[in-house]
């Protein structure tokens, strides 16, 4: 019985203790809740301030980053443009003219507005203009040579007359050839010009003569060492001016 009583006493003591602890906990929780209820608005304000503060700071950093990124990208574009422009300037003729023009147009369309790039653009423009001019002159020269070759072929029959007169075996044979050759000309007085030297724009001629005198000259000297340079015809297809050049 004593043991039962002891157990009950111990149990009661434990219950009392639990209760007191519970009360303490409750008290502590209530106290804490009180603090928490007070702390929450403060924390909220702090969070708000912090978020505003940190949020603004984050925006600022983002902008800076974006600016830095943009600056970096711009510099990269400038460097690339400079490299491409220099490549065009240093090109020894391997890059086609159209490719140079395309690259230049691409760089110009970027409107980089960089002094070095602008200066290089001017240099490249000058180079392209010079190359275009050289190409134009080359094409003109080729066209001229082609025309000359075609004309030379088409004037071969006149050369043949001249050679026949210069190599005639007798005066009568030469005179007969002269008579035939003269029919190609508008008159026996058609001017004959012989170029003795050509240096750029400067052309030196022998003293102008007439076709009649020139054909007789071929007969007398037996010497035809010229070739046909240019011929002018009238509406009837007869020669009005003959220009020869020393071979």
């Amino acid at each position: 019985m004593q043991a039962v009583n002891n157990r009950i006493a111990i149990s009661l003591l434990l219950l009392t203790e639990i209760y007191s602890v519970n009360q303490l906990v409750k008290h502590t929780i209530m106290k804490r809740n009180h603090y928490v209820s007070k702390l929450i608005p403060r924390l909220f304000i702090l969070l708000l301030i912090g978020s505003v503060a940190f949020g603004t700071g984050g925006c600022k950093s983002k902008k800076k980053l974006a600016q830095e990124q943009a600056a970096k990208e711009y510099q990269e574009k400038v460097d690339k443009a400079i490299a491409e422009l220099k490549a065009i300037l240093n090109d020894d003729g391997t890059m086609p003219l159209s490719e140079k023009e395309r690259r230049l147009a691409d760089i110009k369309s970027q409107n980089l507005n960089d002094p070095t790039v602008n200066d290089l653009i001017r240099q490249v423009e000058d180079k392209i203009a010079a190359e275009k001019e050289a190409l134009r002159l080359k094409e003109e020269e080729e066209a001229r040579k082609k025309k000359e070759a075609e004309e030379e072929d088409s004037y071969q029959y006149i050369d043949e007359y001249f050679n026949a007169i210069a190599t005639a075996n007798s005066v009568s044979e030469a005179n007969a050839k002269i008579g035939q050759a003269l029919k190609l000309f508008a008159s026996p007085d058609v001017p004959v010009l012989v170029i003795i030297s050509q240096e750029g724009e400067t052309v030196d001629y022998d003293e102008p003569t007439t076709i009649d005198k020139y054909l007789n000259y071929l007969k007398d000297t037996k010497n035809y060492n010229n070739r046909i340079q240019n011929i002018k015809f009238d509406d009837y297809g007869q020669i009005t001016v003959l220009e020869l050049i020393k071979k």
């Binding site: 005066v171 001017p191 010009l193 003795i196 030297s197 030196d204 003293e207 102008p208 009005t240």
Partner: protein, 193 residues
């Protein structure tokens, strides 16, 4: 009025000065072309002389060739004639020389010019004319009716050459040409061979 006259005279002076300067500095290639042109005229003359002297050349042809030959010379130029049979040298005006050549009293005449070369290069004179001297050797052979050689000599002759740039309009185009004219032909020496 005086000022205007002064300006005109100055401009003319300057323009002539520029022209003369421009012609002063002709390139070696152009100079060579002029040298060759002058030599070619002398070679042409040698062919004309051969034709004129040739008894087989018809009279009309010979006359035409004489006209061409005379055109090569400056007006009033003379040609020296020598002979192994007489002292001294006779000088004839060019046309008279060619006429005499055509009528030489041989049945056949051979005239050959060789060693045609400059003895004095073309040099520019103050008036812009280039003057030089070309020397030639002429072998003359005269035959009788039977074809026998009657007379033969070799004469060294000096020909003065005048070259001047001129301009003319041909078919509406301004042409700059070099006018080559021959002057006197002087006999330097005559020998049998």
């Amino acid at each position: 009025m005086k000022a205007k006259t002064f300006i005109i005279i100055t401009l003319l002076f300057v323009s002539f000065g520029f022209e003369s300067m421009a012609q002063d500095h002709i390139s070696p290639a152009r100079k060579q072309a002029i040298d060759s042109l002058a030599l070619e005229k002398v070679r042409d003359l040698s062919k004309y002389i051969t034709l004129i002297g040739d008894k087989e050349t018809e009279f009309s042809e010979a006359q035409r060739v004489i006209d061409r030959a005379v055109e090569l010379f400056m007006e009033g130029s003379e040609v020296g004639v020598s002979s192994l049979f007489r002292e001294g040298i006779n000088y004839y005006e060019v046309r008279e020389y060619f006429e005499r050549l055509m009528r030489l009293n041989y049945s056949k005449v051979d005239i050959e010019w060789y060693k045609i070369e400059y003895v004095s290069d073309l040099e520019r004179q103050p008036d812009g004319t280039y003057v030089g001297v070309i020397t030639i050797f002429q072998k003359f052979s005269g035959y009788d009716q039977e074809g026998g050689l009657v007379y033969e000599d070799v004469t060294k002759k000096d020909i003065t050459v005048y070259v001047k740039r001129k301009e003319t309009q041909i078919a509406g185009k301004l042409i700059g040409f070099w006018d080559v004219l021959l002057g006197d032909i002087r006999v330097k020496e005559t020998s049998k061979e």
